[in-house]
Symmetry: C2
């Protein structure tokens, strides 16, 4: 049984949360677009966060990390249109002001509010307009779609996931309700965990993953292995990550790279990630050009050890290079595989037993057009 089979059809609204969004006009010229969102819990939430490893880290990440260290959260406030990154000390004051505006509205301490921002880097935040929009938000049980929309930048569609799981035991059959929202289309190369995705190789200054739980289901993870909760959470995160990839800027194809035979798992990840970010691999996949040599060349420059006399490259179910020598193959068959959904590229580096995998996207003319003219 897959997680998908195991999930129940979501029933009713998430218990104990109210949410909403408003249009603050963060970016000039887009005054009617939803660009500020608020997620509020009636109860204090146990909360955890993971933040960008970029040394240039945005003010909202700094402020939210500090608030998480103080204790439970009651709310998350988000804006799009401006990342509040590279904005100096003023940026930090502005992020705190966003938390204060949200705290005022719902009646809690500003330290109980997480702040997230996304958008252009290096432009001062129009914090008055944002604070005013926060005050105007109409909080409801069922406005999650507005929240997902208010977070969008170059995204073409909102990203959310919702599942209920029967995590309780026979004597205590609690169902746990999960809801996730995410955003992202460009500057997607998060460096947070072991399963990696990349749209363009550029790690954001604003990457932030927050998990909140208010305990309303009555389910206590001590009664079931915590690993089950973690597995559900991982599945939801992967679902959101896939939505981000599929909506990546100019993306027409998503592919997975599987490495084995590496000197270590770390080297396998290095090779997988280098292949997913190689512009030559990405453009070949965009054109469905069976130029597999670029895949092996990318592995070879990744820093991972490669034994080219023992390596194998497999595209879909076709070995194009096997045990150190090229194999003749049907070019049209590879073109078909490149053009089909669910493209898998497997490379055996021929060294030892290390394994790793990463998800990537193609690189299109459209990506260039979107990003040649982003701030103007």
């Amino acid at each position: 049984m897959t997680f998908e089979d195991w999930a129940l059809k979501p029933t009713g609204d998430l218990v104990g949360y109210s949410v909403g969004a408003a249009a603050a006009g963060v970016r000039d010229g887009k005054p009617s677009r939803l660009d500020v969102a608020l997620i509020v819990s009636e109860l204090p939430c146990a909360a955890a966060g993971v933040f960008t490893t970029n040394q240039v880290i945005a003010a909202p990440c700094i402020v939210t990390r500090r608030h998480l260290e103080r204790g439970p959260l009651r709310a998350i406030v988000v804006n799009s249109g401006n990342a509040n990154a590279c904005t100096g000390e003023q940026g930090e004051r502005d992020a705190i002001a966003m938390a204060e505006a949200a705290a005022d509205k719902i009646g809690c301490d500003p330290h109980e509010v997480a702040v997230a921002s996304t958008g252009v880097i290096g432009v001062p935040l129009p914090v008055e307009r944002i604070a005013s929009a926060i005050r105007s938000i109409d909080l409801r049980k069922d406005a999650w779609d507005d929240v997902a929309r208010a977070m969008m930048t170059t995204d073409t569609r909102p990203k959310s996931v919702r599942r209920d799981y029967p995590l309780g035991t026979l004597g205590s059959p609690e169902t746990v309700h999960f809801r996730g929202v995410a955003k992202g289309a460009g500057m997607i190369h998060p460096n947070m965990a072991t399963m990696w995705i990349s749209v363009d190789g550029d790690t954001s200054t604003n990457d932030m993953v927050l998990v909140l739980t208010n305990g309303a289901s009555g389910f206590k993870p001590v009664r079931k292995p915590l690993a089950m909760c973690a597995a559900v959470l991982g599945w939801l995160c992967e679902d959101l990550a896939q939505q981000i990839l599929a909506d990546g800027e100019g993306v027409t194809r998503v592919f997975k790279v599987l490495i084995r035979g590496a000197a270590s798992d770390v080297e396998a990840m290095l090779a997988a990630r280098t292949i997913t970010t190689s512009t030559l691999v990405k453009t070949a996949i965009h054109g469905a050009d069976p130029n597999w040599g670029r895949i092996l060349a990318a592995a070879g420059r990744s820093g991972a050890k490669v034994d080219q006399t023992r390596a194998t490259v497999r595209i879909g179910d076709v070995n194009v290079f096997e045990s150190g020598a090229p194999r003749s193959f049907d070019r049209e068959r590879i073109r078909e595989i490149f053009s089909s959904p669910g493209l898998r590229i497997a490379v055996d580096l021929g060294v030892a037993k290390g394994k790793g995998e990463a998800w990537g996207t193609d690189l299109s003319e459209e990506y260039v057009r979107i990003n040649a003219d982003y701030t103007t």
Copy 2:
């Protein structure tokens, strides 16, 4: 006085060399294109080479490295249209066969011949056609332009440099004649020295720099500092590197990144190179979009330490971010700088005294078009 001022107008042909090219039809469908070249010295040459650090290294690099270890060289044989990379043991036999064909023609030992290949990866070399073309080459003193043309792949123009320098002393006024040819437009990210250039971030499996000298000028470097010879050589290499960048696939703009304030020179190079390879920086430069936040974000994810409270970003002569805070600037002025030749981007990481620099290119829709359909 610059090196350029110091150089003499080249006089006559290079002494002691004869060269030529022929059409072998290495790639099907291009039978009349020059694709094999031969450079022959009458005298044995002191020779040195630097090779790709890609772990997936092409057969001609392996064979040439071996020949260099044996002693002086008499010739270099080159083909385009096929890289003879990822071709297994047969590839090595084919590279040796190229050396043998050249040695036969000019009457030397095959170990005195260097072999270089460029083109598609993973396709067996049509070695019979190449050997036959080598035999047919008409060797002349003045066919250097044919040599440079025969090396081209997606290059739009041949790349060569020629200068004479008065390296002798007053009592022994020898003039030393320098001649260089190069090729390259894509898969340009050589990892060989301290001055780095990148077109697309992908290090080739076939990168090779060879330097030969036959001593015909009579100049003996022991009588003058060897450093002067090295400086001239460095200047010529930089000239060729600039020609490669300017002819990079789809390139419309070339830029230089200068880093200072890094924890070390190594970290400075890491930051410089990450900025030159960031797709978001490259597309912004393509569109002359003054989105400088992407520059600092790329430095921040490079692995180099960045103190964002002290960092400075300078585009041309304009500080857009200074000592940790954004500066207001004239967007049209930055657009002008981005659009002008000789674009310089300087970043002070605000940490210590490390310095480094790298050259990069923009990323255009044309780059994607060229590379989405390379092998077909």
